[in-house]
Symmetry: C2
Subunit: 399 residues, 2 copies
Amino acid sequence: MKNMVYIQSGGPTSVINSSLFGAYSEAIRHPEDIDHIYGSINGIEGLIDGKLFDLREESGEDIELLIQTPGAALGTTRRKLPQDINDPVYMDIVHNLQKFHIKYVLVNGGNDSMDTCNKIAILCDELNLDVRVIGVPKTIDNDLASTDHTLGYASAAKVVINTVYSIAKDAACYKKGKVHIVETMGRNVGWLAASADLVPDDGRPDLIYLPENKFVLDDFIKDVSEVFKKKGYAIVVISEGISFERGEAAEVDSFGHAQLSGAGAALAEALREKTGITSRVVELSLTQRANPFLLSRNDRDEAIEVGKEAVIAALHGETGKMIVMKRVSNKPYIGRFELADLGEVANAERKIPAEFMQDKTRMSDKFRDYLRPLIEGNVHLKYRGGIVLLTNFKKKLVK
Amino acid sequence: MKNMVYIQSGGPTSVINSSLFGAYSEAIRHPEDIDHIYGSINGIEGLIDGKLFDLREESGEDIELLIQTPGAALGTTRRKLPQDINDPVYMDIVHNLQKFHIKYVLVNGGNDSMDTCNKIAILCDELNLDVRVIGVPKTIDNDLASTDHTLGYASAAKVVINTVYSIAKDAACYKKGKVHIVETMGRNVGWLAASADLVPDDGRPDLIYLPENKFVLDDFIKDVSEVFKKKGYAIVVISEGISFERGEAAEVDSFGHAQLSGAGAALAEALREKTGITSRVVELSLTQRANPFLLSRNDRDEAIEVGKEAVIAALHGETGKMIVMKRVSNKPYIGRFELADLGEVANAERKIPAEFMQDKTRMSDKFRDYLRPLIEGNVHLKYRGGIVLLTNFKKKLVK
């Protein structure tokens, strides 16, 4: 018996299940090498607790719908593995790897998850287990090192671009408008907020604020007020991770209400207090990572492909590696898959390079050239009666 | 010279410009009756200030893209006309009706706008002006009287249903989940929040709260806690208009921070204080009304048709009327257009009837049967490089 286990880890993306679909599709083509294809329920926790299910027992329709289903179809986790390799949790993992005859471990995730992946690879190596561990990159944050981009970023960026454009049309249609503050995800990096710079001129954000730049509240108020006075409204995009002294808002925090309001709400309040200008805050929230309606076909196809490549790499005997994307050509866009050492990738964080910024509130041509090919192509989804069809696995536990 | 002026009024919908497209398409078929087709810039304000532009001077592409463009392409307004018909503003309107040789006035809007429409009709009638005034119904709120549904509601409902379903997949994938509170638009009526009840079972909201029902905070906390304990997470949909005593949150209001948080944020905070359970609040905000990515084809097609019908009614000599939708058959869905007196429609508000509710937090089969046919059919949009194409009128003023 040589089985494969697939682990989804960290925050989902809109194409996270496309990589699972790719891996599954490739794995079933190798019955001589892979017997069962297991899904680990709730990330690494499934492997720790012995909670796996056999993907071949799920319906064909549920497997097919993976390529348009957001959320982690296997379940995911935020759990990080301890540094100490003698921690008993590792014994549970080894126990279940052996109990379920696992030869191939695929971990689909972001920074933290590649750390998990790396630890399992090291563990198996030290114990001389014949287990191959491969990382499959995924995060809407686009902050993984060693790869041109991460799978899931382009679809999330496409949501940001198209939603900001649509919102801008709504914002522009009043004589007396408002400041519209659109808040994107991205705690430490601004890749998603930056993507809004690709909106065409008739809806392009006036100002974009990234965590990579020092945020000065007075500059923000001055710049936004100027745009507002000139245009009668303003489109401002901020990354949730911009950090600033909240001034009076800090008092509110002491009442325990800090969780209520993100950066956008706090900035709207500061702007109102100082200038009287009212804002509408639109937090894009989960619509960025759980949104099959604006999938980039390129992203979706690459996400499927990277799942396949991970299986192929494992079958070729690779371990302790992550699949990375290299850009061979930009026009036309051609990407290539390569392998990188997990040690290089784990816990490293890629911020937006300076050459991608024109100034503190605008992106450069170079950035737009970088992102443009990644968001291309649309995906036609399957609907029933106007409602999208999504995977709903039964998850019958393997004994 | 017999010209037509088209007015967009109130909050936009995702199909507001489809009705404009329909009216334009019909109007150009009658060159013997209609010379110029003017757009009034920023609703009734354009007619008051004499700011009109000729739609035939816009590019063919911009006209075609109307059917996928959110926001009000002509500009809109929240301005209400005064009760007193002797107010000088009415003289400005009459002046411009005559100056621009307007014979046909089409007003596309909701409750307040139909009041505007009605006032203009009465004015023209009293002054014996040969002007025909027709209302074109539009609002995502679905709260207009005398019509089976309003144009724009179904597309917004489709956004709510599909987004809640997608978010539910994201919410369900953690072992230790959160309460997800999704806040929809709807200050006085719960039609949009209610629509979430059409989400399939594997993502259906556990609890839905409408402004039509008395909201009791203690019941909310008890009901949500119970679901959370059972499932490990919860999907709760609330209408922004639910009203409740905010208790301690009221203190925060005195600091002037009330605008920061909508109902969802206040409920999340109340839940956390009483039970320690944390929530994620997703305010759907403008994505409900400025979202071409989940258009209902039925809604879009009816929105186009209603614009045509309005022109035909005006050409037939009708005035002081609004086009309304009647449902002739549900399976298959067949709708019919009729005329209703503006006096009946203006300022009347249609709440959700009792028979559409199963209990205080669930909708009935009858409601689901009502909504299902309206959200059917998808619309394929035109994109360029992964970015939706939207109308951008030049709006050269008519002298």
